[in-house]
């Protein structure tokens, strides 16, 4: 595996290996010397055609912890505004010596196109493409679930028997897509809860269950409730009538948290709209994994960088 484009491409075995390596990366991050020489002399180019400070910083921290050099390209003031094509931009970055291109783009499929057409030799990591996928987010979410629910040293374990509810704007969420594909591969039971307007059509092949409201989904006492960021402009385009109706039916709040077992966790990929998809007190509760997700994100991305570097296929 040279590139990481979609969680669809990951077998359970490969995904577990990535999670296992991340355990060692977490360990490294707890030491006095938080740096490994593994990618010394390699260059990671963070290429972000869509702004995302947190994802970019996470990849940057991961690359630096593995001793890679990091170059960052964002669209502000770049040649893209001068009409240079994506292909030319990436080839320029590669000519400057990028071994990895961490690519974020607002259009679905961009990472696939770059990898499939072999526009560059560099290893491509999809850091979010439109409303398609965000595979490293799903991996860090799976890692967070496994650590919290199975214990820190869960080496070799999958997620069989773990029930996950993903709630909110599934249709436009690359996080939901990548998670649905990865979590089912790892044996988890996945339920989607959303209004019909925010559900993709014909998803029988996803191996997930669909219910209407969050209350319906909570009846089965899930181990994990994954909330998603709601883009407020969806309201004006008629996907739901109002913020208050959305949070009433699909928002994770205190009373819903109380209905869950105390061992269940609540996740959010960030950045949160407190009071909309997740209430402030739920986000700050001990059952919230929001901070874990951020911290695990660096370890998970170290694992991905390390694993892709050694794989020449």
């Amino acid at each position: 595996m040279r590139h990481l484009i979609s969680t669809r491409d990951l077998s359970a075995e490969r995904a577990i290996a990535l999670l296992d390596t991340a355990i060692d990366m977490v360990d490294v991050r707890s030491r006095d010397v938080k740096k490994l020489p593994t990618l010394r002399g390699k260059t990671v180019a963070n290429v972000f055609f869509e702004d995302s400070t947190r994802t970019r910083l996470s990849f940057e921290a991961a690359a630096l912890a593995l001793s890679a050099d990091v170059t960052t390209f964002t669209t502000q003031g770049s040649s893209v505004s001068k009409g240079e094509s994506l292909k030319d931009t990436l080839q320029t970055l590669e000519a400057m010596g990028a071994d990895f291109i961490v690519l974020r783009h607002s259009h679905s499929g961009v990472a696939s196109t770059v990898a499939n057409n072999k526009w560059v030799d560099a290893r491509i990591i999809n850091a979010g493409d439109g409303t398609h996928e965000h595979p490293t987010q799903a991996l860090l979410d799976a890692f967070t679930m496994r650590s919290r629910l199975r214990g820190v040293d869960a080496r070799g374990m999958d997620l069989a028997g773990i029930s996950v509810v993903i709630v909110g704007d599934i249709l436009h969420s690359r996080v939901a897509r990548s998670n649905a594909f990865l979590l089912t591969t790892l044996g988890a039971t996945v339920t989607l809860a959303a209004p019909q307007t925010l559900l993709p059509r014909e998803i029988d092949g996803w191996g997930v269950t669909v219910v209407s409201t969050l209350d319906d989904a909570l009846e089965s006492q899930p181990d994990v409730v994954m909330t998603l960021r709601v883009q407020k402009e969806r309201m004006s385009s008629g996907f739901f009538p109002s913020e208050s109706e959305f949070s009433t039916l699909w928002g994770m709040n205190d009373s819903r948290l109380r209905r869950l077992p105390s061992t269940s966790i609540v996740m959010h990929p960030g950045p949160m709209n407190r009071g909309l998809e997740i209430s402030g007190s739920v986000a700050d509760s001990p059952q919230s994994t929001v901070a874990d997700q951020v911290s695990n994100g660096v370890a998970m991305r170290m694992s991905v960088l390390y694993t892709l570097m050694g794989d020449s296929r």
Binding site: R8, S85, L86, K87, H105, H107, S108, G109, V110, S112, T113, N116, N117, D129, G130, T131, H132, E133, R174, R177, P200, R201, E202, I203, D204, G205
Partner: protein, 434 residues
Amino acid sequence: MTILIRGAAILGKDSADILIDGHTIREIGSVNNDADRVIDANGLIALPGLVDLHSHLREPGGEGSETILSGSRAAAAGGFTTVHAMANTNPVADTAELVDLVADRGRQAGYVQVRPIGAVTRGLAGEQLADIGGMARSAAAVTVFSDDGKCVGDSLLMRRALEYVSTFGGVIAQHAQDPRLTIDAVVNEGGVSSELGLRGWPSVAEESIIARDVLLAEYVGARLHVCHVSTAGSVDVIRWAKKRGISVTAEVTPHHLVLTDDRALAYDPIFKVNPPLRTSEDVEELRRAVADGTIDIVATDHAPHASSTKDCTWHDASFGMVGLESALSVVQHTLVDSGHIDWPDVARILSVTPARIGRVGGYATPLAVGSPANLTLVDPTTSESWSTNRLHGGSTNSPFLGITLPGKVVSTIFLGTETVSDGALVAPEIVRNT
């Protein structure tokens, strides 16, 4: 100049000789005359010259992807002798001057008859009717009007257009796509769009416009032609309308008869087209609809694009595929070899009926003595992997590259002039001088 074609299977049936004298088919049967040129057509099928009701020749304004000359050559290579050139050029073909210019350049190229299609609304803007009367009464005598690429979405404007065009005996060729239901839509809405995270183009956006338009056509008593029907639901609506006696005709593209939306799974923009590739159930129903006559014709929607607009991301890529060269092969593969229709039906759906819809003279009785000498000879027995050496237009955005298709056009004769000879295009200067 006389041409004698020896031993062709007429419309795929009995073998006979065909004698062409000047612009006219002089004799069919067992011909003993000598001729200036003799073509051995043993094993070949003789079809009437094909008529395409839906091509984008891009001139003026898009010469980087196609010109009237290069598009005419692609058409001849595919067995066509008449093509209709869509109006979405730059400037738009919405005046008599512009449609005359297109027809003239077609005549100068000399490979096929180029029939301009006029815009329904000025600048394809969907606001004000174009100079429909002027175009109808121009030298080009436009009979087909279309805003293709855009739908005449406004119901009142569509009503007026149907009424106004019928004044001149013309027809509206509607690109059926509800604009509001398809904002930023780039792929069929369904399992594939869901997996890819691409904005879906729902089948109902096509079907609801067709339903509205057939009712409008019935109400005002006008003719309606539906471009590139792509869904099983659209077939149902058209079947219902025809049963009701509404004057509607419909076309399907070759690519919608064979390719499905799962081709988009690798985000290869060569498969980005509008309307989008649909599901295998739609493909099956479209084939049946051609066989039972619900869909009247196959039209290519030949849409050339320069490689830079296809060697890019799915989002940035242009919609469209070239199709003139491959149309007959796809029809043979999807309809004839599969047993849906016979070769005489091929003549009907690719020549007689499109000519009738477009009011093009000379195609009513295929391969009849006294008719204009427009015909094509096809070798149906060959089969090969499609490659760019089969393409002769200005662009190579064919979705069939690397796919094996049957059949090959060996000869095309346009008004008594060979445009394709022994499987090769005849040079422009030779075509022009004869």
